[in-house]
Symmetry: C2
Subunit: 341 residues, 2 copies
Amino acid sequence: MTKTVNHRIVLASRPKGRPTPENFRLEEAPVPEPAEGEILCRTIYLSLDPYMRGRMNEGPSYARPVEIGEVMEGGTVGQVLRSRLEGFAEGDLVVGRGGWQSFAMFRKGDVEKIDSSLAPISTALGVLGMPGRTAYVGLREIGKPKAGETLVVAAASGPVGSVVGQIARIRGCRVVGIAGSGAKCDFVVNELGFDLCLDHHAADFPDQLRAACPDGVDVYWENVGGRVLEAVFPLLNNFARVPVCGLIAWYNATELPPGPDRTPLILRQILTRRLILRGFIVRDFAPGDFLTDVGGWIRDGRLRYREDIRDGLENAPAALIGLLEGENFGKLLVRVAPDPS
Amino acid sequence: MTKTVNHRIVLASRPKGRPTPENFRLEEAPVPEPAEGEILCRTIYLSLDPYMRGRMNEGPSYARPVEIGEVMEGGTVGQVLRSRLEGFAEGDLVVGRGGWQSFAMFRKGDVEKIDSSLAPISTALGVLGMPGRTAYVGLREIGKPKAGETLVVAAASGPVGSVVGQIARIRGCRVVGIAGSGAKCDFVVNELGFDLCLDHHAADFPDQLRAACPDGVDVYWENVGGRVLEAVFPLLNNFARVPVCGLIAWYNATELPPGPDRTPLILRQILTRRLILRGFIVRDFAPGDFLTDVGGWIRDGRLRYREDIRDGLENAPAALIGLLEGENFGKLLVRVAPDPS
């Protein structure tokens, strides 16, 4: 149907530790024709997210790994080029899991239409998509922030942490963010309205955090692990809730940290402080009023977001490698084709 | 009112690691007279429980520590000798927190009457008391065992573990116990009716446990930590629940175990398997139908218990020291005075 080729990035080899550009391979393939019940879409935005690191490993994480030679997985916003699926017409804007490629095929149930009049279509991969929904359902089901409580969230300028903190502010919490640079901290306080934001690179970060939480911590949104976890854990109050959403600090680790084994400290805190630690992923919980609530807060100006957009599919590997080191500033997206909206 | 003296055991010094007899001191004191609103009771049974080790340390655990020179804390069954409190008469049998002494004073709200026609009065400290209630409410609120699931519980012949496993059997679970000797394992299978029981001293215990749980583990009742935790954790299924009730393996530890630091393994499992780890203590939850349910199961012969009774208050320190090493076999009690019931 078209003379263009499908550019796609496949997993060339499994990384040991930090991924390198050699773990990815850019390929060209023919653009397929949709069969009955399929739609062919041109990819506009590709979402890059920390979970992708897990998919590059051999063993199962949440889901089966990406196989060697297989197109890298990823959420995408695209535009329908050709439809043989009822309810979808050429030009429709859709969100699905198209992967790291310039054209993707979808079937019924794998794709949803986006209403571009509500918000920029890129937000279907960020604040109004998987990361925003992760924040929303994780707070609703596990974090359960109450007015007057203190919530701590790391990666506070990122697409999950920024929504977590802003919802907690809307719920009446004192919110302390943690981020990886002074510029990010300024953004988190001045633009997102957190009460405070600390740079975890500071040598005295644990002391700063203790001073920032004079009443202890009631909700710790865990999306990093490592040094941040270690600093927050002693501050947790009785009955504190810890939604375990991500552990980016350890995703590239090739071995366990040196001893001693701190497991007893963690378990003892869980016991004596009667903590709840609970792991989850976005699809474990129904969205409920997510789009209504978060969409409304965006329109009211009560909830803001920031995107970090890189142009060109070929730049996706470097962008993901950087993401795992905290180099992005806001929701990381790759613009694969011009945004038509 | 009496010429006898009150024998009491006070905390003489704080243990470093394993307690020794020198950490305790047996004292004599006058038996006090009850003031208005008080009742004086003769202690019949003193309960010895793992949490007492935490109270011997300086820092707070769930509660403030026992101070040096102060009577050791503990649950007791006693008989009213003299009452100046409405609703309590001489000869009444009561349960409360009388501590390690032969006479104890109680006020309103600190003590409850026991109906000795229902079960032996010692059970008010065991299967029908704090340990049994801990098992009941922890399963109801956190473990939530469902028919067909696999539950693993350590210290399976003890007063909490034995009730956990038997309730889970009643709920239709496959139940695997873990205990510290062949005799205990025999009791757990033959008397308590668990499906299996493993001795954690076996060199190949982790392999035995894996073989014993071919469908993984849905509920792990955590009351030991240490080696058992390490063996169970990799077997936990998606959405498994871990009520964190005790960590006896580490109570005498003076330092953290050698490295590497396994914290990332624990957190990664929580995340990818979407586990719930939740610490609790018995008073965090209302008893609900505890007495009706467990009392009924005992009468029906569906729930059994075993007591390990030592005679003489002066033997309480050695008994507690042994408890922390797993030397008891069943609910550990000290008979301080003859049981009048």
